[in-house]
Each structure stands twice: as structure tokens, then as C-alpha cells.
């Protein structure tokens, strides 16, 4: 009986709290995480036109084997006119993972991130006309990914590698893969301050923007991305450039396997 009263009291308490969090569009979250509407307001800016949409496919393993390197593939090619894709988790000390702007690329991206606990991963796709389409999947995890120091510091030459890019383009297959060496310190591990790449821009050699990525703390150490392009959308060489929050530059020409 005592428990029942306590539960009822808590119920009244949450109803009040929910009123504060009420988003403009109320969505029925299949994962019922309780924090969805909060992210809807605070991360996505409480848009007027938003829905859960199966056409936004988020693929990831059901369980995270390595909490420092959880792979995700988001595919929004079924949504026309995509402006950006915002990727975030419901539960984690820093929910936002990255935002992808597929300027002249397909709205499809593979990346890896550090997971801190079991959580849904959401991909919120905004179109140029301002509608939002949200896809998601759930990942189970032992956790701790955001609060573990970068492995880079186990070797003493990490500074020499900083900002180096390993990668290739495959123009015939509309695909580019890159791995950028960087510790991507979240600022949550020990006394190690925040140290992350904030932006990576991919251009063709004439300077035409192909796509860019805004990175946040949860992106994995040595960020690894696959970008996808339509037929003829990718030439033999592209330029990747960007900077981290300490002003270190990334600037590399990525070629096709033939041209290297």
C-alpha cells in the first residue's frame, strides 16, 4: 500500500513535469524513453511539422560490442529534398552525435560513435521545406564509452598523426570513405579537456561543396565516415578540410585507389 501511494504521488509529480516539456507536436514514441519530447524541443527546436517516418532507416547492431566504436548507417534517400540529418541519442551525457549536411551527396552516411549506455539512436531529417522526419533504432550497451580516455594516449606519437586522413573515393560506385586521426576527447574523462574536430567539409577540387559534417563529442576516436553519391556525383579526387576546437587544421586530398 505504501508503495502504491508513493507511485501515485510520483505520477502526479510527473504529469506536472510533462506539462513543462510539452512539445508543439505530440509524437507517440515507440521506445517510450520519457525524454523524447525534451530532445524534440531542445535539440530539434520544437518544429511544427515533425513525424516518425520509417523511410529514415537507421541501422546498427542490436548490442554494442565495443562501446567506443558503435557503427551506425543512416539512410534517408527515400526522403526528397533533404537539408540536414541530426543524429543523437536519448540517453547519454552528451546526446548530440553529429549533423550531416549532404549538400551534393546522398542523404546517407555511415559513422561510428561512443555509447554511454543502452539507448535509442535517432536520425532527424530536415527537408528544405522545413518538415522533419525521424527514424531510429535501439542499441543495447554495457556503456562507459564517453567517459573513457582516448586510446591514442597509449602511444606517444599521436600528435604526429593528428589530422591525418586515410581514405579513398570510388567514383564509379558513388562512395567515399575516410578515417581522420583525432583523439576526440569528450572532456568527461579524467582531467583531459574537450578536444574534438568540430567540422569536416568535403569539396571537389574546383571548390564545389559536396557535403559537410558538424561533429560533437560522441563521435568515435579517429572518426570514420562513408559518404554516398549519385552516379557522376563524385570525381577522382576530393578535398577534405576542417579544424578542431584547438585550431588544428585537417586538410587532405583523398583520391581513388587508381590515382594513389
Amino acid at each position: 500500500m505504501k508503495h502504491l501511494i508513493a507511485a501515485l504521488a510520483l505520477f502526479a509529480f510527473t504529469s506536472q513535469a510533462s506539462a513543462l516539456d510539452e512539445a508543439k507536436v505530440k509524437l507517440d514514441d515507440p521506445f517510450k524513453t520519457g525524454i523524447w519530447s525534451y530532445h524534440q524541443k531542445n535539440i530539434l527546436g520544437d518544429p511544427e511539422n515533425i513525424r516518425f517516418d520509417d523511410r529514415v532507416v537507421v541501422k546498427a547492431p542490436a548490442s554494442a560490442e565495443d562501446s567506443l566504436n558503435v557503427p551506425v548507417l543512416v539512410d534517408a534517400t527515400a526522403i526528397p529534398d533533404v537539408k540536414r540529418i541530426v543524429l543523437f541519442v536519448d540517453y547519454g551525457p552528451i546526446p548530440k552525435i553529429l549533423t550531416y549536411w549532404p549538400e551534393n551527396a546522398q542523404p546517407k552516411l555511415a559513422f561510428r560513435f561512443k555509447i554511454d549506455q543502452a539507448t535509442p539512436v535517432r536520425a532527424a531529417v530536415e527537408t528544405h521545406s522545413g518538415s522533419w522526419h525521424v527514424g531510429h533504432t535501439h542499441i543495447d550497451a554495457a556503456g562507459g564509452g564517453c567517459t573513457v580516455p582516448a586510446l591514442a594516449y597509449a602511444s606517444d606519437d599521436w600528435e604526429e598523426h593528428l589530422g591525418k586522413v586515410n581514405g579513398s573515393v570510388w567514383p564509379g560506385r558513388g562512395r567515399m570513405r575516410m578515417i581522420v586521426d583525432h583523439p576526440m576527447d569528450t572532456g568527461l574523462a579524467g582531467d583531459i579537456p574537450l578536444f574534438i574536430i568540430e567540422k569536416l567539409q568535403v569539396d571537389d577540387l574546383s571548390g564545389k561543396k559536396l557535403a559537410h559534417i558538424e561533429l560533437h563529442e560522441p563521435v568515435n576516436e579517429d572518426p570514420a565516415f562513408t559518404l554516398f553519391f549519385e552516379d557522376g556525383g563524385l570525381s577522382d579526387k576530393v578535398r577534405v578540410h576542417g579544424r578542431d576546437n584547438n585550431g588544428n587544421l585537417v586538410d587532405a586530398i583523398v583520391g581513388s585507389p587508381k590515382t594513389q
Binding site: 505520477f11 510527473t14 541501422k59 548507417l73 579513398s168 567515399m176 570514420a224 587532405a252 585507389p257
Partner: protein, 324 residues
């Protein structure tokens, strides 16, 4: 960044409700739940050698982590046990079996390597000699607590009371005798940084630990594929009468060594090819698994785990460094 105040309120309230609901239902669900007991069945495979065969699944709350093979060998001073299972409770079940087999009970333990399903039963035998390679003790001290956290998360109440106890006797000789029975020691590596294979000289039974799997997908969280392959080549030259692999059924023909090597070569080649084509890990996990491996236990989950373990290093080696 975000409105922390309202978010905290909401999150805290939700978690508190969860706690209250749990308190209401927990006594009922505990009563309804069957008692967690390991039903270990030793099968005699050679003169004075018994094998306890684990399931070929991954750790689940249903199997209690009894996925590993253990061996019991009779000596004139008591039973020798090779690998002690995933938990205190499993170790207790092993001790009980040993006590039924020999009036002297347990004489000594071998741990083949430091993965938790092979040594978390050690606690029960802490006052006996627990033999292992020196590298296994180091690795157990380093990783034991982390493994323990994960095992409690995966197995829950099966793990109650379990604390990792590392092996207490480093092996530096090429044979170990327990009573009048002699064991040949193969100090190898590849599945982990220190893998022990033990040959029972009397019967020619080779206990490989996880250097050999049979009809169960090999696991790679600490693997060096090249060294693992070399270790298998060496064990092949032993020409054992029969093999007790780390996981999977008793092997009278040496098939476990052939299959494990074949699988490791396939993994390495598949991952290298994928890296050369720029595949992401998620795409790679969708690869078709060859027919000869598809029916292995813990497939395709174990292949997915291996992609997580091995792909980041392999693709860094394969993708060329771009010009600055």
C-alpha cells in the same frame, strides 16, 4: 546547450517511478522464478578423462553462461580440472562433481586463458594450485573487473557472489605432473595474448582452450589472427588422439583445428576485401556468410562481434594515407 532544469526533473521522475514499480513487482517475480542451477553432465571421452560440454550459444540469462567446455582428468591425488566456468555457482557445481568422482576431490586446476567463461569458477578452488601461463595471470588481473561487470550485466543472478580470482601458479616448464599423471604444456597465443593447450600424455587427449572451436563461431575480442593461425599449425603437428576444443563437441578427427583455421582465414580475407571497397561496419555485418560457417553456433552474432573487434585496425592499414 539544453534546458537542463526541466530535463533533469523529467528524467529523475521517470527513473523514480521505475524504482517504485520494481519494488511492487519484484517479490512476486522472484518467487515465480525457478532456482538457477547448472546441470553439468560429464561424459567420459578417454581413460580417466571426462568432458563437460557447454552450449554453443552466446551468454544468456537462460544458459547461465554455461557455454564453455571443461575437462576433468583423474589422477592418483585427485581430479584435475581444466577451466572452471563463468561463475562461482558453476565452480561449486564442478567441485561437487569432482568430489563424486574422487575421494580426494580436486587436486589442481588449469586455466587455458583469461576469458571469464574459462576462469570465473576459480574462486571455489582458491586454496588449490591454479596453473596458467604467466601472461594469463597478468591479463586476468588487468581485465577481470571489467569482465565481471559485463558478466553480471549479461547473466544477472547466475553471477551472484562471483569474484574473479586469477590463477596462482605460473607455468614455466614444458610439462606439469600432478600425482603420477603428466601433462605436456603448449604455451601459445593468438586467441588471446597467452593461450595454454594441455596434452594428457596418458591418453593423447589435447585440451586446446579457445585455440580451437568446433561448430561454434570462434570469438575474437583479444585475437591476433596471424599468431592464432601459427598456433593452430603447431597444434596440428601434435597429432593428438582426440581434441577437447574450447567450445563445441568432442573432436576425434582434428576437424576443430581445420575448421577454426579456415574460419579465421575467411574473416581476415573478408574484412580486408571490405576495407578495400570502402564498406562501413554496418554494411560489412550484412555480408553473406559462407554455407560452411552459417550453421555454427552463435552465428551471425559472433561474426558481427568480430567486425567490431577487427575492422577498425584492418581498414586503417588498407586505406591509403591521403596527401596533405
Amino acid at each position: 546547450m539544453t534546458d537542463a532544469r526541466s530535463g533533469l526533473t523529467r528524467r529523475r521522475a521517470v527513473s523514480l517511478i521505475g524504482t517504485a514499480a520494481l519494488a511492487l513487482t519484484s517479490s512476486a517475480s522472484l518467487a515465480a522464478r525457478p532456482k538457477l542451477v547448472y546441470d553439468l553432465m560429464p561424459v567420459q571421452v578417454a581413460d580417466g578423462v571426462w568432458m563437460i560440454e557447454g552450449t554453443t550459444e552466446y551468454f544468456t540469462n537462460e544458459n547461465g553462461g554455461a557455454i564453455v567446455n571443461c575437462a576433468l582428468i583423474e589422477t592418483d591425488t585427485g581430479m584435475v580440472i581444466v577451466d572452471t566456468g563463468p561463475s562461482l555457482r558453476y565452480g561449486e557445481a564442478l567441485a561437487q562433481i569432482a568430489a563424486q568422482m574422487s575421494v580426494s576431490g580436486v587436486a589442481a586446476i588449469f586455466n587455458t586463458h583469461h576469458h571469464p567463461d574459462h576462469y570465473f569458477g576459480n574462486q571455489v578452488f582458491a586454496d588449490k594450485p591454479i596453473y596458467a601461463l604467466p601472461g594469463t595471470r597478468t591479463a586476468a588481473l588487468r581485465d577481470g573487473d571489467g569482465f565481471s561487470d559485463n558478466m553480471y550485466r549479461l547473466l544477472g543472478d547466475w553471477m551472484r557472489g562471483t569474484e574473479p580470482v586469477p590463477p596462482n601458479q605460473g607455468i614455466s616448464s614444458s610439462t606439469v605432473s600432478i600425482g603420477k599423471r603428466e601433462f605436456v604444456i603448449y604455451p601459445l597465443e593468438g586467441h588471446t595474448g597467452a593461450d595454454l593447450a594441455v596434452l594428457d600424455k596418458k591418453t593423447g587427449t589435447l585440451i586446446t582452450g579457445d585455440l580451437a572451436f568446433l561448430d561454434r563461431a570462434p570469438t575474437t575480442p583479444s585475437a591476433d589472427l596471424g599468431k592464432w593461425g601459427e598456433s593452430i599449425d603447431l597444434l596440428t603437428t601434435v597429432n593428438a588422439a582426440a581434441i577437447i576444443p574450447g567450445h563445441g563437441p568432442f573432436d576425434k578427427t582434428g576437424r576443430s583445428l581445420v575448421q577454426t583455421k579456415d574460419y579465421l582465414e575467411w574473416i581476415e580475407e573478408t574484412l580486408q576485401t571490405a576495407a578495400g571497397e570502402g564498406l562501413s561496419m554496418v554494411e560489412l555485418m550484412d555480408s553473406t556468410i559462407p554455407k560452411r560457417f552459417v550453421k555454427m553456433g552463435a552465428m551471425p552474432q559472433e561474426f558481427h562481434r568480430s567486425v567490431s573487434h577487427l575492422y577498425p585496425d584492418i581498414e586503417r592499414k588498407i586505406l591509403p594515407l591521403s596527401s596533405q
